[in-house]
């Protein structure tokens, strides 16, 4: 089959790989109909997440049709259209019983590796380095989904464009707003207007936030935040100092809730940029936390900072004094997608949310390297790229691109 693979730092390859096989009794094989490139795929390709191996198949946002199931699969059958949540859950351990699916205790065969890095292991994730198990990803024609009874959400009747994001970014964004306990009357500030940021804005709006302030530096993304996602205000941080602007906009209080939808490869205009960029380049810190620092400093005393941007390891100059002295709460987590997929599916079916507004580019899987170039470099107004293995018009020859 054809798939997208990691080919070394900043290199993405499209070409032939072996087909997946059923390895465990609960597995299903999915024929991918649509996949997406996620911001966290860029962290992997950029080389900031350890334990990537050349040849790893990328992609953890995908959906498709069930073409084969193992002997233990009961709830889904060949022919079902399903979205696959990115964290692989076993459904049997204590964490799964608490709906903490992304920290499932059983699905990461490289638990020892994750344990060294994170203290305790996390769940397996498709196409997301060997720290999360070394599972092949979904930017491919076929994928094996383990414990398919727990890890496949049936989406019959919903077009791919509306259903696809149930596998990661819509639940991630929703959980971000939920962790922030967004409620009517709140002023919510959201750092990052990428796909997750846009959907976090939409989620905060659905939860009744009174004002939603979106922060980014790309005009087209800020426009999307205002015009399509539901932000009431936007800040281009290249034009205005964010802390001052937020204080001005909130009568000096600061936003009640701050959501970091940026993560480990943040950008900044001030002295933090050369400082963190240099430390990260020589591997003295793994993550650049400029957005997180700013969110903490901005948040009103007693407020909540919700972190859904992806972090990989260790951050530097973390303003713990502000957290402690101003009674802030920090909440975070890789999304427990299985907890949110069904209720959000119902909201989409009811017409309350349509996450498809973030899609700016649709292309055949064979053009995936172009997709990475556009998304990473924010070219051509790119917010979200979706890939269609079956779509015609692409050049199906193997290719490699430096992105």
């Amino acid at each position: 089959m054809k798939a997208t693979t990691f080919a070394g730092r900043n290199k993405v390859r499209y070409g032939d790989v072996p087909d997946p096989e059923i390895l465990n009794g609960g597995d299903a094989i999915i024929r991918v109909t649509t996949a997406a490139i996620c911001g966290s795929d860029l962290h992997l390709v950029d080389g900031y997440v350890p334990s990537m191996v050349k040849g790893d198949i990328l992609g953890h946002e995908f959906m498709g049709e069930v073409v084969d199931t193992g002997p233990n699969v009961k709830n889904i059958k060949t022919g079902d259209r399903v979205v696959i949540p990115f964290p692989i859950a076993c459904g049997k351990c204590w964490s799964c019983s608490q709906q903490l699916y992304s920290v499932c205790e059983n699905t990461n065969p490289n638990g020892w590796m994750a344990e060294k890095f994170f203290g305790h292991p996390t769940a397996g994730v498709y196409g997301y380095s060997h720290l999360t198990g070394g599972y092949p990803g979904g930017q491919a024609e076929y994928v094996r989904a383990p414990f398919a009874d727990v890890n496949a959400v049936k989406v019959d009747g919903l077009p791919d464009e509306k259903a696809l994001f149930l596998g990661d970014i819509l639940p991630t964004a929703w959980m971000g707003a939920e962790l922030a306990e967004v409620k009517p009357g709140d002023v919510v500030a959201i750092w990052g207007c990428g796909p997750v940021g846009q959907l976090a804005i939409a989620s905060a709006k659905a939860m009744g936030a009174e004002r939603i302030i979106a922060i980014d530096r790309f005009d087209y993304r800020l426009r999307m935040a205002r015009e399509q996602a539901g932000a009431t205000d936007t800040i281009d941080y290249e034009q205005v100092p964010v802390l001052e602007a937020l204080n001005e906009m909130t009568g000096g209080r600061g936003p009640d809730k701050c959501i970091d939808a940026v993560g480990m490869e943040a950008h900044s205009n001030d002295i933090q940029w050369p400082y963190d960029r240099a430390k990260q380049a020589v591997r003295m810190e793994t993550d650049r936390p400029m957005a997180l620092r700013e969110a903490i400093m901005a948040c009103r005393s007693g407020g909540i900072v919700s972190v859904i941007g992806a972090y990989g390891g260790f951050v530097d100059k973390f303003p713990m004094g502000a957290v402690m002295n101003r009674s802030l709460t920090i909440r975070s987590g890789q999304c427990h997608v299985q907890r949110y997929a069904q209720p959000l599916l119902e909201r989409i079916q009811a017409g309350e949310i349509d996450p498809s507004f973030i899609i700016t580019h649709e292309m055949p899987l064979s053009e995936v390297t172009t997709g990475y170039e556009l998304f990473k470099n924010k070219l051509d107004g790119c917010v979200k790229v979706i890939l269609k293995p079956g779509m015609t018009g692409g050049n199906d020859r193997p290719k490699m691109a430096v992105v």
Binding site: N24, G55, D56, W94, E105, T107
Partner: protein, 312 residues
Amino acid sequence: MAKAQGLATMFGAVSTGIGVWYVVAPEHFLRTIGARPIDRRIATARLVGAQEIGVGSALFVDGRTTPWLATRVAGDAVHGAMLAMAWRSPDIDRKRMSLAWGAWAMITAADAAATLLANRTERTGVSDDEPLGSSEGALAVADGNVHGSVTINAEPRAVYDYWRRLENLPRFMKHLERVDEFDGTRSHWVARAPLGTEVEWDAEITDDVPGERIAWSSTQGSQIWNAGEVTFQRAPGDRGTEVHVRLEYAPPGGPVGAAVARLLGEEPKGQIKGDLRRLKQVIETGEVIVSEAVAGGRSRRQRPARPLGQAA
């Protein structure tokens, strides 16, 4: 602790030996460091010798190593000052005394390093004879045996029953080839060893409390001596069963064999953790979970996450 104790004994011996030399043959010592043996210097050398013997004996006798090692560092400073004073005298052999300076620098560095190490070890509060601050469960990680624990979302009796059928062990213990039970207590074990070899031994169950504890030991005449115990405790808050395993074994080839095995990636502590993780998978989900990157292979050697078959 054992490491610091060993160091202390070694330094104690060296200190005492040097001290005896200074006291018994001060002229020889002074000539060695390039200083002419005059009366004043002979007296000083004897005094320094007495001090060395004192510290040396203290390191042997007293259980606490840090303060005495620190005394050695202080002594080194005094000796350095003495050498500096002697250096200014016209009657010294500068070549020999340069060598003495070198020796002094090395001894001082060794003393300082040993003091730091002993200090760190002693401050952890883990001691061979009495537990200072840690309770028994916490001390289990410091007793030198291989240990591991995992919490399994199942009743203690169910986990015990699974383990007690020894034929099940190779399902989650990666290095076990097979276990055959002869009768209620005796069994034969075959394990894979480094470099494609196999080791076998007979074992017998020495304690068996259904739902709580199993202990075993290899029988006399086994290829490798080993013993172990596993306990099954109800976890707080209805979270299933805490499984605690402790293994003692004499690795084939002794410490050298163990070091070689580690080089080959056979690290017992890592092994037991992996084994317990697989036990949890088997009991909770019914099978050992594999990803394409680790399927059929050693989990510690990475290979691309792609399907079996062509994965090299």
